[in-house]
């Protein structure tokens, strides 16, 4: 039991500092929910239904800006497609887990959770489970709380501050910190450029065109590099 308790403590201690970078996202999501005119409770439900900051920001910003619902949903799903990599990487570890854990685990598999869990892949199944659920519940509960704080504080922020621009700055930060080789830079520049050129398309569909061409050209650049 004491071993179990120390694993719980470890999971919490590892998760808390990793949550800090997510705080501005949570806050901005709250503000954007208020800005978008979507019912705040419905907007907040994305925190536990989707539980993924980039997809939530994408979906809510696009819905609030008058994009077609189908385009907003597609963009939200594409943003989260990277989780397929996490799922594939964690699948062998989860084969030693009981069935309920194989259902619960994916729900908690956000970027930070993956970063922690992948380091514990060789733990015995029970220790892994204890650690995974401890860190996952920290991320989950802190996310629910901080997005509520954003919604509560959102109306206090004056519209003239144009805080919705913060979404663009946060996304830029994600791109810059994620670029570890030049094909990713190529993908980002092409994605932005093609979206710019197709800005006239209705319902912000240019976003999907830009994203698709960006992924394609990034993949080609990677091939040429090899």
């Amino acid at each position: 039991m004491s071993a179990g308790r120390s694993i719980v403590k470890q999971g919490i201690a590892d998760a808390v500092p990793l949550f800090v970078p997510a705080i501005p996202f949570a806050f901005v999501i709250g503000v954007v929910i208020v800005d978008s005119g979507i019912n705040p409770v419905v907007g907040w439900s994305s925190s536990w239904i989707i539980f993924g900051g980039a997809a939530q920001l994408t979906l809510i910003s696009l819905l609030g800006s008058g994009a077609a619902v189908a385009a907003a949903i597609t963009a939200g799903l594409v943003v989260n497609a990277r989780h397929l990599m996490y799922s594939a990487a964690m699948a062998p570890v989860f084969q030693h887990q009981p069935r309920w854990m194989r259902w619960v685990g994916p729900y908690l598999l956000i970027d930070q959770q993956f970063a922690l869990a992948v380091l514990r892949a060789d733990d015995d199944p029970k220790s892994f489970r204890t650690y995974y659920l401890s860190s996952g519940l920290v991320f989950w509960s802190m996310w629910q709380i901080t997005t509520v704080v954003g919604i509560v504080l959102g109306p206090i922020v004056p519209v003239s501050w144009s805080l919705e621009f913060a979404v663009s700055i946060l996304f830029l930060g994600l791109i810059v910190m994620g670029i570890d080789k030049y094909p990713k830079l190529v993908a980002a520049l092409v994605g932005a450029g093609v979206t710019y050129l197709s800005a006239g398309l209705p319902n912000r569909a240019g976003l999907l065109v830009g994203a698709f061409v960006g992924i394609l050209v990034g993949t080609i650049a990677e091939r040429l590099r090899e």
């Binding site: 970078p21 997510a22 501005p24 979507i38 019912n39 419905v42 239904i49 989707i50 539980f51 993924g52 997809a55 696009l62 619902v69 949903i73 939200g76 799903l77 594409v78 943003v79 989260n80 497609a81 990277r82 799922s87 699948a91 062998p92 194989r102 259902w103 685990g105 994916p106 729900y107 598999l109 501050w161 621009f165 913060a166 663009s168 700055i169 946060l170 996304f171 830029l172 930060g173 994600l174 810059v176 670029i179 990713k184 980002a188 994605g191 932005a192 979206t195 710019y196 800005a199 398309l201 240019g206 976003l207 830009g210 994203a211 960006g214 992924i215 990034g218 993949t219 990677e222 091939r223």
Partner: protein, 102 residues
């Protein structure tokens, strides 16, 4: 109601993207070309989103000196510090400053 359904749709899709291999395809591997392409999803989509969010109702990209300055400074701070909070403060700070000046 539409918004709630949209959230549920993205929620289901997100869960499936996190769960599909864990729940169903544990013995399957993602094929190499798909794995290569997946790395470029985040940079391509996020940069496309940045531009898309600046498109106004007439289909023009509403980007001015304030936005460009904020992207340059925010991008540099992100690169140097790898810290989201500092990036946000620097980017928004420059955005507000330049907007106030011009």
């Amino acid at each position: 109601m539409t918004e709630f359904l949209a959230i549920i749709a993205v929620g289901i899709g997100t869960y499936l993207s996190r769960g599909v291999f864990i729940l169903a395809l544990a013995s399957k591997k993602i094929s190499d070309p798909v794995l290569v392409a997946l790395q470029f999803v985040a940079p391509a989509v996020l940069s496309a989103l940045i531009v898309a969010l600046l498109i106004d109702s007439d289909g023009n990209v509403a980007i001015g000196v304030a936005e460009v300055s904020a992207f340059i400074v925010g991008g540099a701070v992100a690169y140097k510090t790898r810290n989201h909070i500092l990036t946000l403060i620097a980017g928004m700070g420059v955005f507000w400053l330049v907007r106030a000046l011009i």
